[in-house]
């Protein structure tokens, strides 16, 4: 592996300052939360940081804290901690389930929630170092290539899918992300955090190179709320989603009062389906309604040559998940 200098900031402000300083010196810098994915990318020469800013010493960001306005989740909380946390499991089930489906125990023990949200795409062309848009090149190789796992929504000019499991869950929960930069803080709703390639093809979210995602804020749990994450994989464990859905419903007296439906692995960002949500609100969830919702979910899909199978799969996943969650 290429050599680099590891630095250990004590707080997020220092981390952001270290990033800024490295950039000003003409160096490249990378953040390491868990660091597993970063080291793989360095070994594969996909990134070559001069400085690795190791966040593991920021113990204040390792807490899950409940308060009157909701729950604060430090960015360094591991996926394993998140998936096992009693409050997250009971009140924010979709998030615990999503975190529990990520990769393997070894990765979940190290991997952080912020790292999972901010991970780079797993498109095989990107990961093999093809000079694609994401690497500063001039094309997306999936368009005329092997695009079985690529986007059916929101694609162009790059057709990557966002690989995170926790990101769709956090969008369904209407989370907000607290970001620290060298000049202070900002809070961005999950729904505005991720950006499409047509907006900026070089990155997947709004983070600037000297900013750190430090905390996730969840709104108070809703009474009569229920939520779930269902992940379709091409084997039973240890892989990314072929397709997934994060769903959060509020059901009072059998009637759906509020719905959030977000798909994973179908678009370059977690893909919310407002048209499906509108169909559900004010209705009893019947088999017919779930069928309508499934059809609406894919009404705007635009498949590439080899990923058309995602359309019936998405339709069935939305329909079935809705029925099992409402049932």
């Amino acid at each position: 592996m290429k050599s680099f200098t590891n630095v250990n900031p004590k707080d997020p402000q220092e981390a952001a300052a270290l990033l800024k300083k490295a950039i000003e010196k003409g160096q490249t810098a990378s953040l390491a939360g868990g660091g597993s994915d970063l080291l793989g990318m360095i070994k594969d020469d996909l990134v070559g940081p001069d400085v690795v800013v190791n966040l593991k010493g920021l113990s204040a960001l390792r807490e899950i804290e409940s308060h009157s306005q909701g729950v604060r989740i430090g960015g360094l909380v591991t996926l394993e901690e998140l998936s096992q946390h009693p409050l997250i499991r009971s009140q924010y089930t979709v998030l615990a389930e999503a975190a529990g489906t990520v990769a393997t125990p070894q990765i979940r023990n190290v991997g952080t929630v912020a790292g999972n949200i901010c991970q780079r795409p797993w498109c095989w062309y990107f990961r093999q170092g093809f000079p694609c848009f994401k690497h500063g090149g001039d094309r997306c190789y999936s368009v005329v290539g092997q695009n079985q796992l690529h986007a059916i929504f929101g694609g162009g000019p790059s057709f990557i899918v966002h690989p995170s499991d926790t990101a769709p869950a956090l969008m369904a929960l209407e989370a907000r992300f607290r970001i620290v930069g060298p000049h202070g803080e900002r809070v961005v709703p999950a729904s505005e955090f991720f950006i499409l390639p047509r907006e900026d093809v070089s990155r997947e979210n709004v983070l600037e190179p000297d900013e750190v995602l430090v905390e996730i804020e969840l709104p108070p749990a809703v009474q009569n709320g229920r939520s779930t994450y269902v992940k379709i994989m091409d084997r039973e464990a240890w892989t990314h989603a072929v397709l997934s859905v994060a769903m959060a419903l509020e059901i009072n007296d059998g009637v759906c009062r509020k719905a959030r439906v977000v798909l994973g692995a179908v678009a370059p960002i977690p893909w919310r389906l407002p048209n499906v949500e509108r169909i559900l609100v004010g209705q009893r969830i019947t088999a017919d309604l779930a069928g309508d919702a499934g059809r609406a979910a894919v009404s705007r899909a635009q498949p590439l040559a080899k990923n058309g199978y995602k359309i019936p799969l998405t339709e069935a996943l939305v329909r079935r998940t809705l029925l099992s969650l409402a049932g």
């Binding site: 080291l39 793989g40 393997t104 023990n109």
Partner: protein, 198 residues
């Protein structure tokens, strides 16, 4: 005649091979930290590995797996893919399993590391190791130490796992010989005996 099992065949042929081989006992090579020229000197870290304290000079980009294998001589930890995918390099850090190929040694400063070498006490194997032998878990053996460490992490936190829990716990360890079911049986058999030793 007693049927020949794969295990007894290997034991016998192994004895035959040992007898036929040249007699001088193989001594495990002793590894030392590679002395570095002053300008390349890294930083000193402290690790507790299998209960023993070590002070080491490492470079920032060295992985924990490299340090364990190349600088502490603990070659029981294997490096297969070197990308955090295969699981052969699994060790425990403060009791939790991780891929040591995908974790920097400098990040492990002050931590307690357990490797496969720490499982047996002298010649007394850990119950998990006994069960792995009994159930013919290892085939080529390359993934075995990683399988053992994942199983150890599971039984330390959950002494009586269900089959589903054990499957999940071993999901990050790939066996190219595809002997997953035997490893699973061995782990479940150990947990049935009241868990593996401390």
């Amino acid at each position: 005649m007693k049927p020949i099992s794969r295990r007894s065949f290997l034991e016998r042929s192994g004895t035959g091979m040992a007898a036929a081989a040249a007699i001088p006992a193989l001594e495990a090579p002793t590894f030392q930290s590679r002395p570095l020229p002053a300008e390349e000197r890294g930083r000193e870290i402290h690790l507790k590995v299998n209960g023993k304290d070590h002070r080491l000079e490492v470079e920032d980009h060295w992985t924990l797996a490299e340090v364990l294998r190349d600088h502490l001589g603990l070659t029981g930890t294997r490096v297969g893919c070197d990308r955090g995918e295969c699981g052969a390099c699994t060790v425990l850090l403060d009791g939790k399993s991780l891929y040591s190929c995908s974790y920097l040694a400098v990040w492990a400063e002050g931590k307690e590391i357990s490797t496969v070498e720490g499982l047996a006490e002298g010649t007394q194997l850990d119950p998990l190791q006994e069960a792995f032998i009994e159930h013919d878990g290892p085939q080529c053996g390359f993934c075995t130490s990683g399988q053992l460490m994942s199983a150890k992490a599971l039984l330390n936190s959950n002494p009586n796992p269900t089959e589903a829990e054990a499957r999940q716990a071993l999901a990050g360890n790939i066996c190219r010989c595809s002997n997953f079911n035997r490893y699973l049986e061995a782990v479940l058999a150990t947990s049935g005996k009241g868990g593996s030793r401390g």
